[in-house]
Amino acid sequence: MRIKLDAAHERFRDEVRGFLDKAVPADIRERCELGKRMTKDDYVRWQTILYKQGWVAPGWPKEHGGPGWTTLQRAIFDTELGATPAPPVIAFGVTMVGPVIIKFGSPAQKAHFLPRILKSEDWWCQGYSEPDAGSDLAGLKTRAVSDGDDYIVNGSKTWTTYAQYADMMFCLVRTGSDGKKQEGISFLLIDMHSPGVSVTPIVTIDGGAEINSVFFDNVRVPKANRIGEEGKGWTYAKYLLAHERTNIARVGLSTRLLRRLKEIAAQEQMDGRPLIEDPAFSSRIAAVEIDLMALEATVLRAVSGENAGKPPGPESSILKIKGSLIQEELTELMSEAAGVYALPYHPEWFEPGWNGETAGPAYAPALAPTYFNWRKVSIYGGSNEIQRNIIAKQMLGF
């Protein structure tokens, strides 16, 4: 059940939903509903459709190509977009590095990179985590040494989502080692096609390989590709993290997963009746649906009325924790709903164009791998334990 808005915002929601429903190409919709892997082409096609509508960068100021929405309109849009059976807009360009370039970039950086992000001409990836710098991000070791108009970068990054598709990486590097470890970090924009950059896939527990290790071996990066001042990268990185957290609750995605869960539970049988009529299972669905309502109501509180226009604060850590737990519960219930047909593993089924036979219902092959894959959401972007530290420190005063 969805929370009702006032008349003006119900109209806005209908308008957004009306467009998105029609705009998704049929083949993308079908594969997305089934939980198949989205290809680079799928992402770019969908982002281009949104770009032509003027909706690909809902959080950007109007002069840079944003739609000029309020924070509430943006939250409504994010939710409807997430509920649409289509790939998510890749966050690294639009919601992560984009706002940093807008806020801290040079005129030349803005003129070059921002239009290319909007048009999906550059695929961006994120160079934050390192093998020895995860939750302790400021402990990063990748070094950039000055050499005339360039830096020479050496080191490695890890967990880099879609590095295999990427044209550009925004990257935190160490340019100094004096003082606190947060000092001496700089924020570079690295061309992934540069000599010395190599990418190695990391296979995850679901059998996929969307994340990678990235290695830098004497990679030459022009100083013109540094954001702001040398040694101030931590400030820009923190600004980026605040922006990343606007759609952190992912109410839309969970709404779609809940709908799929109910569809699957209506088709599965238990005691000769649809599984969704089983009191124990339907009660578990109700529990997560009520949690999702609580989350959506909390998001609306955070973006409307007196909170409208405020930058997202530490309360977004609550949204991250609760939102991730709900997604994990939903993917787990979907996998459980399929019963034994959650077990056959058909890795080739995920690949586009594969039309072989699978055991069990058409919706089954993706369910267990998706459940396994989705354990990531309480780990990435600051684990739920780190989020609790943030709340304890910033909201509870510890």
């Binding site: 059940m1 929370i3 009702k4 808005l5 006032d6 003006a8 915002h9 509430l72 969704i276 009191p279 339907s282 009660s283 669905i285 109700a286 529990a287 649906e289 009520i290 949690d291 309502m293 609580a294 989350l295 109501a297 909390t298 609306l300 509180r301 409307s304 009325g305 007196e306 309360e315 609550i318 924790i321 609760k322 334990e385 609790r388 530290n389 709340i391 304890a392 909201m395 509870l396 005063g397 510890f398």
Partner: protein, 378 residues
């Protein structure tokens, strides 16, 4: 869209907070709850003066003409200060049923608003558990009136009430939703016997025995056979009000526990410096915020006019209040250690009230099941 309070609601919230802060200290509550009659007539008169008792009463009958959001504001204050007065029984349930029953009964709303009339609802029975359609108590035609026979279970505040709203079956089978009729019965009517007691949270309730209680036809509230829908609608409002009370109690527990973690020292440091305790406090805080969001959304949903939406939202709020309330209550006791087990501290009293709230008018499991039924189609 503005989800914050209107200016009038904000002023009401301020007045509730200011008054209870000043007049309703925990030791006052303890004294009132532990002596008969278990509430303070003086406090009740003050609530009337402040306009709280007439919030749901239409303006032309001396009330404020408010709704679920205003009731939520008062009930959150009641939760924060563990108010023992019969606000839920008299104003939310009693007032809600008088308004819905219509007819000459609405005239009583003025007495309710002025504090002269205390009401209680005697609906549940030994075998009904939380099912509002389950009524065995019978109302047989007797002359121009009715004769009521049956046993009502755990009627909150019944021993304080001037009149008790009793449901009884005028037709149909025990679990039929049609055939239930509501009667306004004076507490001292012949044939009414109360077994009064305290509940575990320090409030008052009674089992009500009806041994052939004769009432006039004019005692009927609403229409004959049509009581069920009135009760369901009034209980929906009670669910949101109880959820708001739970939010207030959770907020108090969270604040007191946070303070305790900052001041209580062990191993030479405040225990709040330990991450394992910080994270548990964060979970309490999240529980509070999520319950608050759902309660506010449900209060607005009740005023929306879409009955199914309001009903499912009220059920969702009660599930959150029940579950999160239990969690916050248990964690507050745990984080206070041995002190949390003592009667001396308010902590355990909040915990007990939150436990009672979950069980009142359907616990989290019950409303979760209802919610599943209400939303199966969507």
């Amino acid at each position: 869209m503005d989800l914050s309070f209107t200016e009038e609601q904000r002023l009401l919230a301020e007045s509730v907070a200011r008054f209870l802060e000043k007049e309703y200290a925990f030791e006052h509550r303890r004294a009132v709850a532990s002596a008969d009659p278990g509430f303070s007539r003086e406090s009740w008169a003050q609530f009337a003066e402040l306009g709280w008792l007439g919030i749901g009463t239409p303006e032309d009958q001396g009330g404020l003409g408010g709704g679920a959001v205003e009731h939520m504001i008062v009930m959150e204050g009641c939760g924060r200060h563990l108010v023992v007065e019969p606000y839920l029984s008299t104003v939310i349930l009693g007032g809600g049923l008088l308004r819905r029953g219509g007819g000459s009964k609405t005239a009583l709303l003025a007495d309710l608003a002025s504090g002269k009339l205390l009401l209680a609802l005697a609906h549940g029975e030994r075998k009904s558990r939380f099912d509002l359609a389950h009524v065995e108590t019978s109302a047989e035609k007797s002359g121009k009136g009715f004769k009521l026979t049956g046993h009502k279970a755990v009627a909150f505040h019944a021993q304080l009430a001037d009149r008790i709203i009793v449901s009884a079956r005028t037709s149909g089978k025990t679990t039929d939703s049609t055939g239930i009729t509501l009667f306004l019965v004076p507490r001292d009517a012949k044939g009414v016997t109360l077994l009064p007691y305290r509940t575990v949270d320090g409030l008052r309730a009674a089992d009500v025995r009806l041994d052939g209680v004769t009432v006039e036809a004019s005692a009927v509230l609403g229409a004959v056979d049509a009581g069920h829908d009135l009760v369901v609608a009034a209980v929906d409002e009670a669910l949101v009000a109880l959820s708001a009370e739970a939010v207030g109690a959770m907020a108090a527990l969270f604040a007191q526990t946070r303070e305790y973690l900052k001041t209580r020292k062990q191993f030479g440091v405040p225990i709040g410096s330990f991450q394992v305790l910080q994270h548990r406090l964060v979970d309490m805080f999240m529980a509070l915020e999520l319950a608050r969001s759902t309660t506010e959304a449900a209060a607005r949903a009740l005023g929306d006019g879409d009955a199914d939406y309001g009903r499912a939202s009220a059920a969702a709020a009660k599930v959150q209040a029940g579950r999160q309330g239990r969690l916050v209550g248990q964690e507050a006791v745990q984080l206070h250690g041995g002190m949390g087990m003592t009667d001396e501290l308010p902590i355990g009293h909040y915990f007990k009230r939150l436990t009672a709230i979950d069980t009142s008018f359907g616990n989290a499991d019950w409303h979760q099941r209802r919610f599943a039924g209400l939303t199966a189609a969507s």
